[in-house]
């Protein structure tokens, strides 16, 4: 009947199973609702974890803190604790302070919760180790495990960095609160500062050390002392004092700012008054060395390249205007034998830049000869052509007169100056951005700008000039043909008239000759003059009807320069032919026959 026994046993098991308590199951949603309801009713108090997935009661928090403390061997950082428990730091902190209040075995030191057992163990470990051994080991770990510095005068004293920082903050506070001269000793005693630390920090705070002052304190070798004292600081030794990191940083920051905003800055107000200009310059050079963006002006100022190039802007329009004007004037410069050129030279000499100009001239000449010899780009070629034409015209002039009288060297234009430094400075001063700049800086900027501006201007002037010259050349050719045609007709006419006159001389009176000659002469002359005028680039309006007075004036002008122009002439034919530069066709016999 073992089977029935078994059935009985199973029946009993079944009853037990039925009577066992049902596992109460609540969905997470329900639980959250219940808990929030309870919180709402202020029946329970919970602390949420940072991820919001869990909450725990303050009692649980306290329990967990204690457990963690135990696990970590009696000492735990609160921050670490916070990370482990994943609860907001304020909760951890307040709970810990609460626990400490109740539990005499716990202490909170520098954000670390420490159990008494830990201290006991610590003390046990240190027990009966000799002081020498300890200090040796401590020194060994300085800067690595132990963050602090040894007092250079007393090896037994170690300042932790935190202590030094705290002292520094206190000193800074005390000194910024001073409103009247106060004895340093008074401050020292009142705030109970470590004397040596106090002095070194004070020096540090000032950011610089004056050698004189140090001498007064009885330090005979200031530089050596500083080197020894501030190994890690890398101070800069200047002529009168030694600058600390703080000042350098300050300078660097303002320089950087000036560079990044494309502005300028004066360093002088940033440094202590004791610094001399040369000191500042030294600091500044040190600071901007390797930085191509920065330009040091007037020893103490830093100007960014961007700023300087910005200064260039106002000149662009001025340059175009001036170039336009000069291009016109330039025509006369060329024809009036460099009068203007020499003048420019003179004005250039004011700032001593003539030497440079000369050099540039030389260089230019070289460039010009190169161009002549056939090299160069397309642009150059155009230029070359136009100049060549000019030369031809002038060469023909030279052929016809005694030549060599031209003072301007061939193949280059006279040196042109855009503006003098004073003028540039004046323009700069009117700029809005530059209003605050001191005079010296403007001058320096102007000096920097002058050369590139001049160069640029010369380019612009040249291109404008060549443009106008190119137009003129075109017109010249046109006129030349017209003139040729006119001349040949005039010549034919003249010959015809001459023949006619000769024929009629015998029987008619001589009264007819004069008007004929005059008319031929005038038509020829007018053409010739216009032609000559353009040739010489005297701006004569093409259609100007010359009166006999005006004509005389023009002729006079030519006569002064070139002796080839004859007004008085033995006979008509000669006069026409002598007009230079006009190839003449042989008089048409057919026409003559008529």
């Amino acid at each position: 009947m073992a089977d029935w026994e078994e059935v009985k046993r199973l029946a009993a098991d079944f009853q037990r199973a039925q009577l066992s308590s049902t596992k109460q199951k609540l969905s997470e949603r329900n639980v959250i609702e219940i808990v929030s309801k309870l919180i709402g009713l202020k029946l329970i108090e919970v602390v949420y974890t940072l991820d919001g997935k869990e909450y725990l009661t303050p009692q649980e928090l306290a329990k967990e803190i204690k457990e963690e403390l135990f696990v970590h061997g009696g000492r735990i950082n609160l921050v670490e604790l916070q990370q482990i428990l994943n609860v907001d730091f304020s909760h951890v902190e307040s709970k810990v302070t609460e626990i400490i209040k109740h539990d005499k075995n716990l202490t909170l030191v520098l954000g670390q919760l420490i159990d008494k057992s830990y201290l006991d163990r610590f003390a046990e470990e240190l027990y009966d180790l000799p002081a020498d051994f300890l200090s040796e080991n401590v020194h060994e770990r300085l800067g690595s495990v132990i963050k602090g510095q040894v007092d250079s005068y007393d090896n037994d004293v170690i300042f932790t960095e935190a202590f030094v920082a705290r002292t520094r903050a206190r000193i800074r506070g005390a000194f910024s609160a001073i409103t009247r001269p106060t004895a340093v000793m008074a401050i020292l005693s009142q705030y109970d500062f470590q004397e040596r630390l106090f002095y070194s920090i004070l020096e540090e705070l000032n950011g610089y050390l004056e050698y004189d002052a140090m001498n007064r304190l009885g330090i005979t070798d200031p530089k050596g002392f500083i080197k020894k004292r501030y190994k890690s600081e890398k101070p800069i030794f200047l002529s009168t004092c030694c600058s600390g990191r703080a000042i350098q940083d300050q300078i660097e920051a303002s320089v950087e700012e000036a560079l990044s905003t494309g502005a300028w800055t004066d360093i002088m107000p940033l440094v202590p008054t004791i610094f001399s200009t040369s000191d500042v310059n030294q600091l500044l050079t040190n600071c901007v060395s390797g930085n191509h963006e920065a330009v040091v002006c007037c020893d103490t100022m830093v100007v960014s390249r961007k700023f300087i190039s910005n200064c260039n802007k106002p000149f662009a329009s001025l340059m175009a205007d001036k170039a336009e004007k000069d291009a016109k004037k330039n025509v006369s410069i060329l024809s009036t034998q460099g009068g203007k050129g020499s003048h420019v030279k003179l004005s250039g000499m004011d700032d001593g830049s003539s030497g440079r100009d000369d050099k540039k001239e030389g260089r230019k000449k070289k460039v010009a000869t190169c161009t002549k010899s056939g090299g160069g780009t397309q642009g150059r070629e155009v230029k070359m052509k136009s100049t060549k034409k000019k030369y031809r015209a002038r060469d023909q002039d030279d052929d016809s007169d005694d030549g060599g009288a031209q003072a301007i060297p061939k193949g280059r234009e006279p040196e042109l100056e855009f503006m003098s430094i004073d003028e540039i400075t004046a323009v700069l001063r009117t700029e809005k951005d530059l209003e605050e700049c001191p005079e010296e800086m403007l001058t320096e900027i102007a000096t920097t700008l002058q050369r590139p501006l001049n160069r640029e201007y010369q380019e612009v002037a040249k291109s404008i000039f060549l443009q106008s010259a190119g137009v003129a050349t075109g017109r010249l050719v046109e006129k030349h043909t017209v003139n040729c045609r006119r001349k040949s007709t005039a010549l034919t006419n003249a010959i015809l008239f001459e023949k006619g006159i000769k024929q009629s001389l015998g029987d008619s009176s001589s009264s007819g000759e004069a008007p004929t000659e005059d008319s031929v002469h005038r038509s020829d002359e007018h053409g010739g003059q216009c032609y000559k005028a353009t040739d010489h680039m005297v701006s004569l309006a093409e259609d100007t009807q010359l009166t006999s007075e005006g004509r005389a004036k023009v002729i006079n002008r030519f006569q002064k320069k070139k002796k080839n122009w004859r007004v008085s002439k033995p006979n008509l034919t000669w006069c026409v032919i002598r007009t230079p530069g006009v190839p003449l066709k042989k008089p048409d016999k057919k026409k003559e026959g008529k």
């Binding site: 089977d3 029935w4 059935v7 199973l10 029946a11 596992k23 199951k25």
Partner: protein, 172 residues
């Protein structure tokens, strides 16, 4: 035909191997052991799922079973006594579970308070002879019947919580 939850419940309770009725002597003992094991497992599963809904016990021979079942409707617990005999032709014939106190109160019931099982219960049982046992009868027969009938009866006012309360109270 059978809802998902029921299917899952069925899948979790063991099936029987022995085909034996009360008159089969030793084999019935074997069958009875299996019945108990199945019921224990079923009850445990229910409790795990917070879905305990009956108490059951039998006479020593395992031929007559009685106990309670309850149904919770609108946060109120309605509890009923149940009883049934193991038929002579068991397991070919399914047990007829009865709720005597509801006799005459609903049309879904035979005389004597035997619940009128759904049309598909019987073919399902027939297909699964001898694998199905008491546990299955409870899960597939009584469970769904209660779920359908009780809310209906409560709504009709045939049963009220007040008269059940005493019954429920003495048990819990």
């Amino acid at each position: 035909m059978v809802d998902e939850a029921t299917k899952r419940t069925l899948a979790q309770i063991p099936l029987h191997k022995t085909k034996a009725g009360p008159r089969d002597g030793e084999l019935w003992v074997q069958r009875l052991k299996e019945e108990y094991q199945t019921l224990i497992k079923y009850v445990q599963n229910n409790k795990e799922a917070d879905n305990d809904w009956f108490r059951l016990e039998s006479n020593t021979e395992g031929t007559r079973w009685f106990g309670k079942c309850w149904y919770i409707h609108e946060l109120l617990k309605y509890q009923f006594d149940i009883e049934f005999d193991i038929p002579v032709t068991y397991p070919t014939t399914a047990p007829e579970i009865a709720i005597p106190e509801l006799d005459g109160k609903t049309a879904k019931m035979y005389r004597g308070g035997k619940i009128c099982l759904t049309d598909h219960f019987k073919p399902l049982w027939a297909r699964n002879v001898p694998k199905f046992g008491i546990g299955h009868a409870m899960a597939l027969g009584l469970g769904p019947w209660l779920a359908v009938e009780i809310p209906d009866l409560i709504q009709k006012g045939v049963i009220s919580h007040a008269e059940r309360a005493m019954n429920g109270a003495e048990d819990t």
